[in-house]
Every structure is written in C-alpha cells, then in structure tokens.
C-alpha cells in the first residue's frame, strides 16, 4: 500500500477532506473509539492483513497507523 491510499482511506472514514500523516486521530481528527476500531477493520478487510489487538492502544497518529500496516503488508 502507499501513503496516499492510507490518507484517503482515513479521510473517508472520518469525513475529513484533508488528513496529514502527523495528525492525531482523536485530538486532531475527532475520531472516537469506534472509529479507530472501524478504521483498523476496514484496513484489515481492504489489505487482507491483521493488526494485532494489543497494538491498537499505541496508534495515536496516522503515521503510527501506517507503521502498523507497512511491515505486515510487505510493501511500502
């Protein structure tokens, strides 16, 4: 996956026209707990990967999210 795709996906999920890598999901983008769970579920479904549950609390920014996915998806 690439960063642009991820930014677009997060933007669609949260209803934000612009999303930057260093935006904090909750504080800057207004995400709620259910949104974080949903974003991860959509990513898992779209990219056919699994994000370990215990990693969820460490995902604060869009960049953190990208970091969780990139090693799993095998391409940058």
């Amino acid at each position: 996956m690439n960063t642009g795709e991820l930014l677009d996906l997060v933007a669609r999920q949260l209803g934000r026209h612009t999303v930057a890598l260093d935006d904090r999901l909750i504080e800057d983008l207004g995400a709620e707990s259910i949104d974080l769970v949903t974003i991860v579920a959509v990513i898992e479904e779209t990219y056919h990967i699994t994000v370990e549950e215990e990693r969820l609390p460490f995902i604060r920014t869009v960049r953190d999210l990208a970091a969780e996915i990139t090693p799993l998806s095998g391409s940058a």
Partner: protein
Amino acid sequence: MSAPVAAASVAELLARTARRHPDRPAIITDGRAWTYRELQQAARLAAHGLQRAGLAEADRVVIALPNDAAFLITFFGALIAGAVAVPVFPGAAPERLLAMSRLADASVVVVTAGTAATLPWPPARSGPAVLTPADLETGGSPRPAADDVSRPCYIQFTSGSTADPRGVVLSHRNLLANIAQMTDAMDITPDDVFVSWLPTYHDMGLTLMALTPFSLGARLVLLPTDLRDVAGWLRAIDAHRGTFTAGPDFAYRLCLRNERVRGRFDLSSLQACMNAAEPVRAATLSGFEEAFGLRHVMMTGYGLAEATLSVTCTGRGQPIDVDERGVVCLGRPMPGTTVKIIGPNNVPVPAGQPGEIVVGGPSTCAGYHGNQAASSALAWRDGYVRTGDLGYLDPSGRLYFTARRKDVINVAGRTIYPQEVEQVAEMVSGVRLAVAVGIDRGGVEGEQLYVFAEARAAGTASGSEMQALTVEITRAVHHNLGLKPRSTLLLHPRRMPMTDNGKLRRAALRDAFTDGSLAYGTGIVFPPALTS
C-alpha cells in the same frame, strides 16, 4: 423492593425525592455534585425561564444539550412548566435542529451557547425562541401547571426523516409505569450508584439511567457520551463505587478489545450491567465478567421507545441462559407488561415458535407525533404495539430476540431508520440517490452503517472528485446524525436494486454486497479495491 407510590407526574417524582432526600447527591457530573434540593431548585428556575420566553402548557421544548446537569435541569424545567420535552442529538447541524424543531412544532429550543452562536434563527417572529442554559439560571417561581398523567411528557424521536418522522409520544403515565416496572424488575434501590455515559437525549440514558434513580433518591454519575476512551467509564465505576451501569453490547466488547483497561480497574462494586439496545453476544457476557473478576452482574433486556423503554429483562444477580443456537435470553416481561409472538396471520403462535414481537402494557405509546399513518400501522390490537422485531418465547415466557425489524439499522445500540440517513446523504450536492443499510461483518464493531450512493456525475468523475464526494457524504451523515458510516460507496448508474414500481430494495443491496456479487468493478466505482 417495592415500586414507588404513584406520582401525579414525572415532575412530581423529582419534587417528591427532593422533599424526602434534599441533601442526597442526585447528579455527579463534570466535577460537581448536585443534591436533590439543588436539582429541584434549578429545575424550577428553568421552568420559570421557559415561561418567561413564552412557553405555555403543552408546548414542545426541543432540548439539544450534551450529557450534563443542564440537560436534566432543562428537561425537568420543561415538565414543571407543563410542557413536553423533545430531546434531540446536541451535535446536529443548525439546519437539522431547525428541521427537528419544525417536526415537533416547538415553541422553544434550548441549545448550548456555542450552538446558539451558529444558528441562523429565529427567523423574524415565526420561529421558536432560542435559549441557552444560562438564560434559565435566574428568575423566580414558575406558574404551576396542572398534573394530568395522560398528557404527553416527552417525545422521543427515533427518526427525524421529514417524509416519515417517528416522534414517539410518551405520556406521564407511560413514564411513571415504566420507571416503576424497571425499579421492580431490576431490583433498583436508593442505595444504587448509577454510572452512565449513555446519551440523555435517548431513551435508555434518560429513562433508565436518570429518571429511575431520581425517582428513588439514588445517585447518578453522569459522563460525557463519547466513547473516545472506554477507560473513562470504567474509571468512574471504580472511583464512585458504581453499582449499576448500562450500555449496548458494543461498549462491553470495546472494553475487552482494549488491553489498556482489561483488569486495570476495580469494578467489584458493580452489581448490575445492563446490556441492551443491540444484539447481545454470549461471548461478551462471559468475557466481560471474566476480564474484571465479576459474577452474574450482566443483565440483558429488550425494549423500544414505543414501549417507553424496557419490555423485558433478566434478573439482577441471575445467570443468563443461551439457547442451543447461541441466542441470548432477554428475560421476562416487566410486571404488568405482556409480550406476545404473532405469526404472519397476526395471530399469536405457541411458545417456541418464532414470529413478530408485540408488546402490551402501561408503558406502550399511543403513536407518533404528527404521523397518523405510522401510528395506525404501529397498533396490533388495542394497547399493543407491533415491534417489527422477530423472536420467540420459551415455555416459561422468557423472550429470545432473533432478528430486527426490516431495514432498521442498529449501530452501537442506536436504532436508525435508513430513510433518515438517505435523506441527509441525498442533500449532498452531486448525490442523485443514496441507500443506507446495516451490515454486521462479525467484527468487534458489530453492525455498521453502509451508505451506497449514486453520483450525478457517475462515470465521468475523477478519483479525487469521488473521494471528495465520499468524504462529504460521511461528513454530512456525521454532522446531522452523530454517527459515521462504516463505508460510503459510490455505485455505477442504475445499479441500485429497485422493485418494479421503483421502490428501493435495501435487503437485496445488502445481500449483494455481503455475498460479494456487488464489489469494486461489478457495480462499485469508488473507493477502488486496494491490494497490498
């Protein structure tokens, strides 16, 4: 535990508790405790303030306030003035608030100061008066209103669709009956400590979690509604030694999913965790109790706004049965309520057979505000409402819920009519047609809202235009209804399944998406299917 002695109105419930237990804490919220005396005094000032603004008896007051003392003060203020409260989602966009006020024929709208600044009204002299909680904090004694238990107490909107609004009109008698029933069936006592983050503008957060403790002199620890941090909920239970809480199954699942909270809090004070408003998963019941070292604290129940709130529940401190197919038992009817299961011919079926759930009793509503057609369709027989939900009764009369009424969407415990979402989505510039469905893919998030839209420029729009349109639909749905779609998908023109006479077939669309026949490239134009 006996039910409280009958009061003449819901306002009288609070007044009576304030006389009996003036110094007991009523609400603990936002770092402040309000005693019953303070709550009642503030509600009387609010009643006077509403009357100053021109509110007359039986008028409607739209209350668009978040979870805090001001909501409950305004709610009781409206009732003391003899008016009808109409709680609505406080985050709604100004146009939405205006539309809801029109649907309710409201004469007063109470909003936060922040919202008041954004409202483009009152337009001339025709619109409702707009007040903020600060306008209701000073004044004198309100004019007394006549008590009549048959009068409307509040209107619970389950759909704000202008074409088919569902504003459930609940009388004082309905509320008083359901509060007494819940107190009895759930063994609620004045010593209970309620901890709630459920929205006060919605039935479970208002009736079970606020009005019921107030009727007894129990205390309510009231938290903000957003579940950005489930730890805040558990921390409050721990800190206040909460005994009674409630939430949809999703909320408990979220606690299990979140490693940061599991086992970190001492929830040993909990005696009752009502799990309702969303299909209950057996794994959640045992998982939550195991994670926090609890036993038999989970309770399940069935209810709907058309029956005020509660219809059935399991016993406090009792184990919860699960049938051989994994369907969780939702307990017995409230005392005085009758649940029947009817077949396609509208006649009751024997125990064990599935059919539509119908409910009769003192808490069932008479109908919807300003919607005669829907009100007529609601009645099964005199005093009974049709729920549209499917289930069965076991031989001992306990209810098992198997499927929800057609097309109705349930996200994290909230019931949403698809028409309402579709109306909002179709107001987005560039959307020709929208269809909303609820789909549960089996994940922790449970059933989620999917919006399928057909763009006016379908076929010619660029990727970035489709991205912008998708974002705009999500944004509009969130701003108006307070929830975000799980996915917003743009379809090729004429891919919406319709009946011969042009009616949308939502179930067909849902099935096509679920079985994969409707996917990117076979109907969906955006977003593209991505691969790693």
